[in-house]
């Protein structure tokens, strides 16, 4: 647990109640969380806070998830795992995210918080 305390996770999600549930669950597991409500804020926080992992929605105001992902992969933080968390499950959307370098793709309506937590743990090893 101690080792996890330092792990910082950035949640870029424009739905407040999804964001709340996610960050509460991650906090309960001993992670430090930070949240952004749109793509631009998300990119700024990646630069400022240098999170260990990013949970990224696709449909976002200002800059969408694809743009955010592309910019992360071009910048200094390109090795930070980016886990996509969306409800767009179409093959073209999944492919686009993976092509841009997303670590994994999760569908909110299919995944429980526990499933998300597992993926986070898996990618923070």
């Amino acid at each position: 647990m101690n080792e996890q305390v330092k792990r910082k996770i950035l949640i870029i999600e424009d739905d407040k109640s999804l964001q709340n549930a996610l960050s509460e669950m991650l906090a309960q597991e001993g992670y430090e969380t930070s949240c952004a409500l749109d793509g631009e804020e998300g990119l700024q926080k990646i630069k400022d806070e240098k999170p260990d992992l990013v949970l990224l929605d696709i449909i976002l105001p200002k800059k969408d998830g694809y743009e955010v992902l592309a910019e992360i992969k071009k910048g200094e933080e390109k090795n930070t795992p980016v886990l996509i968390l969306t409800n767009l499950e179409e093959v073209d959307n999944v492919q686009k995210a993976l092509d841009l370098g997303a670590t994994t793709f999760m569908v909110k309506s299919d995944f429980s918080l526990k499933d998300v937590l597992e993926k986070v743990k898996e990618n923070l090893k």
Partner: protein, 319 residues
């Protein structure tokens, strides 16, 4: 047969059903075209006899042809309008379903937080009664999510945008998981589900996640349309170069006259609502679409009040 033909001639009501104006309605335009064609034949015959000059005949035939072509154009536009409305309807369902996904996922996740020990604060655990009501909300939410996900999956499959990640899988464990997941339904209807498998079962090349949706629908239907306390048999076996997955119930059954419609979108049998009011009729459509992707086949036998048996066959990938 004759009545059906007369019915189709009643273009006013069919145009009203499509919500189209008379001159946009293919049924009406078709009738007009038929009348013009018939009268032009008679007319041409009359003109050809009456006038010796061939030019008159040629001009009159050309005029009628032009008229028929114009009406043909109207018909095409009418059909286009119906096709466009169909596309818009699919888009509308897609947008609404996507919009519903976020709040439904939020309800699911927030409930999950509440159910964790720390979710309620350290000394503020939920009472058993509160937990029951919380579970009720969760179940209703799961139902809504399933409906929305089914709708979205149908749209994705129709558009060829569904993700299929295929691998070599043995169906035994997958079937066990599905039966376990349907525990709540079994308990509610007090139905017993027997799994009979002849292992080792050869593997098949499928997407386990999608196959689970198909199996869930087939076994779920069998439970739903069984009498309380009934029995459902799920059989897995090898048959020649195929793996067979069979689901057998002794419940409602499907009336013979509706057998040809079973795999159509939004199909619900006439006697279904006596057993269960829920359901929109997407399940079997989805099942067949999914199986098609695995080169699988599905067929069934069914008799009212005796039950249904659904047969699924999937090609074996190894021995």
């Amino acid at each position: 047969m004759f009545l059906k033909f007369i019915d189709e001639l009643d273009f006013v009501s069919s145009c009203r059903r499509y919500k189209l104006g008379l001159w946009q309605c293919p049924n009406f335009l078709f009738l007009v075209m038929a009348m013009i064609t018939i009268s032009s034949m008679i007319g041409t015959n009359y003109i050809a006899r009456r006038y010796d000059d061939e030019t008159v005949t040629v001009i009159s035939v050309s005029l009628v042809t032009a008229l028929i072509m114009i009406i043909g154009g109207f018909i095409i536009r009418g059909v286009e309008k119906i096709a466009e409305a169909n596309i818009m309807k699919s888009e509308f369902i897609s947008i609404i379903s996507h919009q519903l996904c976020t709040p439904l996922s939020a309800i699911k996740w927030n409930l999950e937080v509440l159910e964790t020990e720390k979710g309620m604060g350290d000394d503020n655990k939920l009472t058993p009664k509160q937990l029951i009501f919380l579970k009720n909300i969760e179940k209703s939410n799961e139902r809504m999510l399933k409906l929305v996900n089914d709708l979205l999956e149908v749209i994705r499959i129709d558009q060829g945008r569904s993700v299929f990640v295929k691998e070599k899988v043995s169906l035994v464990q997958l079937t066990q998981e599905v039966i376990e997941d349907l525990g709540y339904l079994k308990a509610a209807k007090k139905v017993i589900v027997n799994l009979r498998d002849s292992s080792p079962l050869p593997r098949v090349f499928i997407d386990p996640k999608k196959m689970k949706i198909a199996m869930e629908n087939l076994i779920g239907n069998a439970i739903k349309y069984s009498e309380e306390g009934g029995e459902v048999n799920v059989i897995l076996k090898k048959e020649k170069k195929k793996v067979m997955f069979i689901v057998e119930d002794h419940g409602a059954g499907i009336p013979r006259y509706q057998h040809s419609q079973v795999f159509e979108k939004f199909f619900r049998s006439d006697n279904a609502s006596r057993y269960r009011t829920e359901g929109v009729g997407l399940g079997l459509y989805l099942v067949r679409a999914i199986l098609k992707n695995f080169s699988g086949e599905i067929w069934f036998e069914s008799e009212v009040n005796k039950g249904s048996t659904f047969f699924v066959s999937l090609p074996i990938v190894d021995r």
